[in-house]
Each structure stands twice: as C-alpha cells, then as structure tokens.
C-alpha cells in the first residue's frame, strides 16, 4: 500500500495501517503469553514443593539416606572421620570445580553432607559409596565425586549441588 511518495510524507492512511498492525501485534503477543505460561508448574505442584523436615537420628555414622524434595533425590550422608579428613585436605588447585569442604557443609555439622543426588553431567543418579574417592560414582558416564560431593573425575562439569537447607536442631534439618 505504501507508495514512494507516501514514504516521504507519512499520510493518515499510513498511520492507520501502522496503528492497526501494532495493535494486532500486541494482541498476538498477549494471546501467546497464557499459552506458554500454562507450561510452568501449576499451583498444586508448587505447593507440593514446600520445605520438608528430615530427622537425622536414625542415620548411623558411615550411612546415608535418600529423601525426595521437589521430585529430586537428596543424599544425606553421615560422614566418617576419614571421609571428613579426606574432603578437607584435598588441595583446591587439583579440583575441576574448586570449592572447600567448609563451603559445602554447615559449620559445626561437618559430619553431615547434604547434596542433590543428580549428576551434573546429564542428570543420572550417582551411586553412593562407590568410585575412587570415597564418595559417589555415576554409572551413566563414569563421573566420580568425592566425599564432599565434588567432581573429581569424568565428564561432569560441576560439583553435586547443595540444596537450600538449615539445621533446626542438631538432629533435624529442613530442606527447602
């Protein structure tokens, strides 16, 4: 519709076409929003992802348990003295994803390691107490994590994530 002359001198007609086109674009964008937003977690799923509390008393030294929070397995390991020492004395420079053990546990609760048990490579579940580092071994592609859940060997790029959690007492934590 736009001719050479009207391009130089915008006319009322051009304004009308641009306004209508713009309104159509705004309407289309506003329509797409709910069509995409519906894919996000629904209110029931979000509510079910509320924090959970875990009692630590039944977990003996050297043992670990797996609990689920937001559909993810959380490893809670009661570490032995040996595991703690190993984790603390590793030189940070030798780690692919350098992080001191103290940054991965709550101070004063060195014996408790709480990590999300999902391999940072492609999402498989590593097996506890396996591999060469007294930690976790992922059977899918051979990533190995140490007793602090840090990546030591294999294709995974990062340490096992630590979920948000806090000690409510010495024997009870709240995850989330």
């Amino acid at each position: 519709m736009t001719t050479a002359s009207s391009a130089d001198h915008p006319t009322r007609r051009d304004f009308l076409f641009v306004a209508t086109g713009a309104a159509a674009a705004v309407g289309a964008a506003a329509t797409v929003w709910p069509l995409v937003a519906q894919m996000n977690p629904d209110a029931a799923t979000i509510a079910a992802g509320a924090p959970i509390q875990v009692d630590l008393t039944p977990i003996a030294e050297g043992q670990d348990i797996k609990v689920f929070w937001r559909g993810k397995p959380i490893y809670i390991s009661h570490r032995t003295k040996k595991q703690i020492e190993e984790a603390q004395k590793v030189p940070l420079s030798s780690l692919p994803d350098p992080q001191p053990d103290s940054a991965r546990v709550k101070s004063g609760h060195d014996q408790w390691l709480v990590v999300i048990g999902i391999c940072t490579h492609l999402g498989c579940i590593p097996i506890a107490h396996e591999g060469n580092y007294d930690g976790f071994f992922c059977p899918c592609h051979g990533s190995q994590y140490d007793s602090s859940g840090r990546i030591r060997q294999g294709p995974a790029p990062a340490n096992l994530a630590v979920p948000p959690y806090a000690f409510l007492s010495d024997t009870k934590i709240q995850i989330g």
């Binding site: 519709m1 007609r13 009308l16 076409f17 306004a19 209508t20 309104a23 159509a24 705004v26 309407g27 506003a30 709910p34 069509l35 937003a37 519906q38 894919m39 996000n40 629904d42 209110a43 029931a44 799923t45 509510a47 079910a48 509320a50």
Partner: protein, 690 residues
C-alpha cells in the same frame, strides 16, 4: 490451488526453494492473487471465522491435553485442577468449551448462508458435500469432547448417544458393546473417546483443505449468484478479502470473549459439575444446544429405529440438496418465494432447537412432530416444487453491475451483523437454560451478590464468615475436596496471609503415610493439604446420614441451577446473570419449614424444604440463629449465615472469578479498539476498489 502459478519470488533463497517446492507460488495464488468476487457481504467472512475457530480449538485442545487425565477416576478431578491450579487454566478451558459453541454457531451461519445464496448449486456440489462431511465430523468431535470432563451430563450424554446405535436391527447390541469396550459406558469408553477427540480435529483440518481446494476450483459464490466473468467482477484476495475477513474475525472475537470471560457457564449444564455417577440419571438429559434440533427430531418419532433414522436423515439429506433444488437462479435474493420459505425454515430449525430443550411431553411432542414434518418438507417438497413453479426476478448481468446497483446502505451492514450475531446467539444459546427441571419446587428468589456482573468481586468479610460457617457447621458432614488450605491465601480469595493460612491448616489433623514402618500416621495440616473429608468413603458417609451421602461442596454453587424460563434467559445473556447456583443454595438453606403446609407430607427421615425439588430433603435444617458467632459483628442469623456460606461456596467453585473478570475487561477494551481500527483500515483498503 488452481494450476501452476506464475509467481516468481525475487529473493534468491526463496527462488531456490520455489524451484524445488513451489509452496510460495501456491500460497500466492491461493491467498494473495486469488480473485474473489467484489460483492461479497459479511456473511462470507464466516469461512475465515471458522478457520480461526478450528485453529483455536486445536491449539487450546492440545494444551488442555497436556494437563488432562483420561481416566474414569481422575478425569473430573484433572479438569478441576486445570481450572484451579494450571496457570491461566481457567482461561484455556473456557476458551475451549465456549469455543466449541462458537464453532457451531459460526458453522450454522455459514450453512444458512450457503442455503440462502444457493452456494451448493452447480458447479459447487462437491464443495457443499465436503462441508456436510465437515459438519458431521464436528458433531462427532463435539460430542466426544463433551464426554471428557466426565460429569453427569458427559456420562449420560455418552450413554444416550451411543445407545442410538442399539436401534440397528440384529447387530445393535454388538455395535454398542463395541463402542463402549465394556458392558456399559466406562473407563475404556472414556479412553477411546479421548483418543478420537484428539484425532478428529486433524481429520477435519484435512477435509477443510479439500473444501478450500474445491472452493478455489469452482470460485466463490456471491450474493448475486452470478459467476465472475471479467476482471472487473473480482478483487485480489489480499488485501481486500483478507482485511475484510480480519475485521469479521475481530467482531466475532468480541462475541466470543463475552462468553469466555463473563458467561463461561451460560452454555453449559449445571449437572456437568457433578461427577459422573452410573447409578443416577439427571432428571433431564439435554444435549449441548447445537444438537438440540436433531434431538427434537429424534424424540418426535415414537419408534426407536425410525427416530434414529429420522435424526440421521435430517443431516444426510443436506448432501442431496444440490439435486433437490434444481432451480437455475442461485441467490434467494432473486427468488421471492424461496426467500420466504428460507426464513420459515430458519424459524423451524430454531423452533426445533427450543423443543429439543423441553421435556418430551404434552404440547412439546405435538409441536416437535409438526416441525419435524416441516423440516423434511422444506427439502423434499418445497424446494423441488419451487424450482418448477417459481418465477425468479432477473439477476444482474455481472457482479460489477450488482455492486453499482447498491453502493448505498453499506455502513449499516457491519453494525447489523454484530447485532444479529449477539441477538441470535443469546436466543439460541440460551435455550439450554430452559432445560432445567420444574419439579414442583418454588423458584428461588434472585438475590443480589457482590460477585455478580462484569465488575463483581467477592466480599472478603463474607468469604471469611462463610469459611467459619463451613468449618463449624457444614464440614461435619460435607467435604470440600477441591479446596486446599493454600487457596485461602490466594489473590481473589478470602484475603488471608500465607501465615494465617498455615495456622488455619495446622489446626487440622491430616492422614499421611505410609512411613518407614509402613504405617499411616496423622500430622498437622500444611498449606498444600486439602480440606479433609468428614468421612473416609462414600459408604461411610451414606451410612452416617440416613442412607444418602452428603454431596461434596467444592462445586455446589455451580452444580445447582433452576429454570429461568423464556424470555428471562435471553435477558440473562445481556445482564450477565450467572447466579442461579448461589440463589438456589441460599434459598435451600433458608427454605426449611418445621411444618409442611397443609396437605403435604414428606417421607420418614426427610425434611420439608420449600425450594428443594420435590420438597423432601434428607438434610435436616442445618443452620439456626445464634449458632455461629462472628468476630466482625455481623448478625448471627440464618439469613446472614446462608448468604456468607453461599458466597464462600461460590468462591470455592470459581476461585479465579476476579482474575477472569479483570482480564475480561482488559480484553474487551482491547478488542473494541482493535475492531474499530480494523474497520477503518478495511474502509481505507476498499476505498480503491469501489
């Protein structure tokens, strides 16, 4: 779609593709350069409206299927979860449910337009028959879609419609068993209906492609009914038809949005908010409004097989229309008699629709029979006869002549189309409301509610008081299964904070488990928990309440209704009156009378209620003055309790109502501005063509 195109793209990349797959040429010749008669009126925009509706139904349907569970035990609940918990789920569901009605509404206009202007006549017979096939597929799709929410009407609709096939001699029962996948309508039926409901829209889309192909081979018919002869008779599809269609679509969207945002339950049946119960048939089985004329024909015939045959014949006869009406003149504009009979036929169809919604007794049956005869007579007697005896008026020489003859009175067209749309929609669609039972209950008085109308909001104080009444009185017997404690803090709800909702929840004991020892245990409620039911199962609830389980209250305010009657239901469409449910619940709570009126006795174990259908209700008078004390000083009267608990139940049934009405207002403002812009754009574009 007709022959190789001379379209040559200039962009080298497009050229490269075009040589290997001439798709741009196809689009160009079909939707850009395609010559369209210049005298098309707005009734011709319904083709574009229908294409949009099909696309929209597929889009929203695919999305709903992401959240829906096709299982007899879970389907009803999953639909409620869509509406309550999925982001914009209420919007998507309303769009899809109202969209089905809008789709049929548009297809009826499209069909009547074809009928009036003789669009089925040579050389468009195949085009017309493809249209009838699309219509049949739509009916099957719409029916199966209606079954999916698995409410009472879904279940019993499925039962009645599948039983139509039992009329087939010898094989009837086997066919029905095959359709059901069981000895009755059940989970296998639901599963296959879901599968087919997902499949058929794509089949429709395929037939639509054939329909458009046939259209582009024969060329469009037009109001004058004469074929385009020269270039002067036509304009290119783009921009002329595209812009006109876009304006038609934007007007239709306004009508559509009225239902989505303000009248989402106007076209539905309250009974479908009651979960499917194979043991109880609703008092009046009524199909969706778009099947009502055929339903009326079915019921008019007092023989099972003949009724089913008549019903299907009423649709199949459309396929033979091109040969039943052999008149040379296409457009009824130039056929004085045919024009009158056309309008009589329209009235007959609407009349059949009305009768289909009425109980099959007395005068309604006789009227149904008369109109059924009229329906068939139109095709079998009137049209063949008119072709022989009618003298048509002279048709214009060409489309260009037709345009010149009436370049006046155009501006009024758009407005009158919109008005006709709204009026017809209100009339036709509202007839479903009439289907409600009239079983000797007094009509509940229409009360004033804070949440009625386009700006309605829930009264927070009333919601909080209503919650208290529910907790202290109703919850002793009635569950509230679909409401979670977290909802108490939702926007548009009772207005509690998260902390208040958590505190409220912690007062409840919730059964959880099994724990590591494999045992169930009780713990304090959390906000993610739902209101616990007073009884562990339906049998226990029935045993404790004189043999009838108290119904769940989550959807009570939408699952009950009463007859509004003609013409009230037409006005309701314009005033957005949607509060039959609350009116009824409030009336029941206040309708108990210690002594039945003289001459009325109610059976042992039941109580007299003025507004309950049949008057004998199993529930004893639940509320009495002073039973619940309110902190905010509201009067401790039954009237106040009833009002507050009903408001609370309305919120429980429709928790996103405030968001719905708020977004609705924004959408309306936008659509009206957009329609105006489209109208002026269309005028500017067409200014060159006249």
């Amino acid at each position: 779609m007709s022959g190789p195109s001379d379209f040559q793209p200039s962009n080298p990349a497009l050229k490269w593709i075009e040589r290997r797959l001439p798709i741009f040429g196809l689009i160009h010749s079909s939707f850009v350069a395609y010559p369209t008669p210049r005298n098309l009126n707005y009734w011709w925009t319904f083709g574009a409206i229908l294409s949009m509706m099909l696309g929209l139904q597929i889009l929203t349907g695919v999305i709903l299927a992401m959240h829906y569970t096709p299982h007899a035990d879970l389907a009803f609940k999953s639909v409620e979860l869509i509406v309550r918990d999925v982001n914009y789920g209420w919007l998507l569901r309303n769009m899809h449910a109202a969209g089905a009605s809008m789709f049929f509404f548009a297809v009826y206009i499209h069909m009547f337009r074809g009928l009036y202007y003789g669009s089925y006549k040579e050389p468009r017979e195949v085009l017309w028959i493809l249209g009838v096939i699309i219509y049949l597929l739509m009916m099957a799709t719409g029916f199966m879609g209606y079954v999916l929410p698995w409410g009472q009407m879904s279940f019993w609709g499925a039962t009645v419609i599948t039983n139509l096939f039992s009329a087939v001699p010898y094989f009837g029962e086997s066919i029905v068993t095959l359709l059901w996948g069981g000895y009755s309508v059940g989970n296998p039926t639901l599963n296959r209906f879901f599968s087919l409901h997902y499949l058929l829209p794509f089949v429709i889309a395929g037939v639509v492609v054939l329909h458009i192909w046939a259209l582009h081979v024969a060329g469009q018919n037009n109001p004058a009914g004469v074929e385009a002869k020269t270039e002067k008779d036509t304009v290119p599809f783009t921009p002329y038809a595209t812009i006109k269609d876009a304006f038609g679509v934007s007007c239709f969207l306004i009508f559509f949005a009225w239902f989505i945002f303000y009248m989402p339950n106007y076209l539905g049946d309250a009974d479908n908010y009651i979960p499917a119960n194979p043991g109880v048939t609703p008092a009046h089985i009524v199909p969706e409004w778009y099947y009502l004329p055929f339903y009326a024909i079915l019921r008019s015939i007092p023989n099972k097989l003949a009724g089913v045959v008549a019903m299907f014949s009423a649709i199949i006869i459309l396929c033979f229309l091109p040969w039943l009406d052999s008149a040379r003149t296409r457009s009824s504009k130039y056929r004085p008699l045919a024009k009158q009979f056309f309008w009589i036929f329209v009235v007959v169809c609407i009349g059949l629709g009305y009768l289909g919604s009425q109980p099959p007794e007395g005068i309604y049956v006789i009227a149904g029979r008369i109109l059924t005869v009229c329906y068939f007579a139109y095709f079998l007697i009137v049209l063949p006869l008119l072709a022989r005896i009618e003298t048509p008026r002279p048709v214009p020489n060409s489309i260009a002549d037709d345009v010149l003859a009436k370049s006046k009175g155009r501006a009024a067209t758009a407005a009158s189309v919109v008005l006709a749309l709204v009026l017809a929609g209100g009339l036709f669609a509202g007839s479903i409301q009439n289907a409600k039972a009239e079983e000797g209950g007094d009509t509940p008085p229409a009360l004033s509610w804070s949440f009625s109308g386009p700006f309605g909001k829930y009264d927070r104080g009333s919601l909080q008081r209503g919650l208290k009444v529910y907790k202290e009185v109703c919850s002793a017997c009635h569950s509230l299964n679909y409401v979670a404690f977290r909802n108490l803090a939702d926007p548009g709800g009772p207005g509690y904070s998260e902390a208040q909702a958590a505190a409220f929840a912690s007062e409840y004991k919730i059964k959880d488990g099994p724990n590591d020892q494999g045992e169930m245990f009780e713990r304090p409620g959390r906000t993610a928990d739902y209101f616990p039911a007073p009884f562990p199962n339906e049998q226990a609830a029935a045993a404790a309440n004189g043999g009838k389980a108290p119904p769940d209250l989550s959807l009570m305010a939408k699952a009950r209704s009463y007859k509004r009657g003609f013409p009230q239901f037409v006005f309701d469409f314009f005033t957005q009156y949607q509060e039959q449910g609350p009116d009824y619940v409030d009336a029941i709570l206040q309708g108990f009378e210690d002594k039945p009126p003289a001459g009325v006795t109610v059976p042992e174990g039941t109580y007299y209620n003025k507004f309950f259908p049949g008057h004998a209700i199993k529930m004893p008078k639940p509320l009495s003055d002073g039973q619940v004390t309110f902190d905010d000083g509201a009067p401790a009267t039954v009237k106040q309790y009833a009002h507050d608990v009903t408001t609370f139940l309305m919120w429980a049934a429709e928790p996103h109502m405030e968001a719905r009405k708020r977004i609705g207002m924004q959408v309306f403002v936008f659509l009206i501005i957009f329609a105006f812009l489209m109208y002026f754009t269309k005028r500017k574009v067409w200014a060159d063509a006249h």
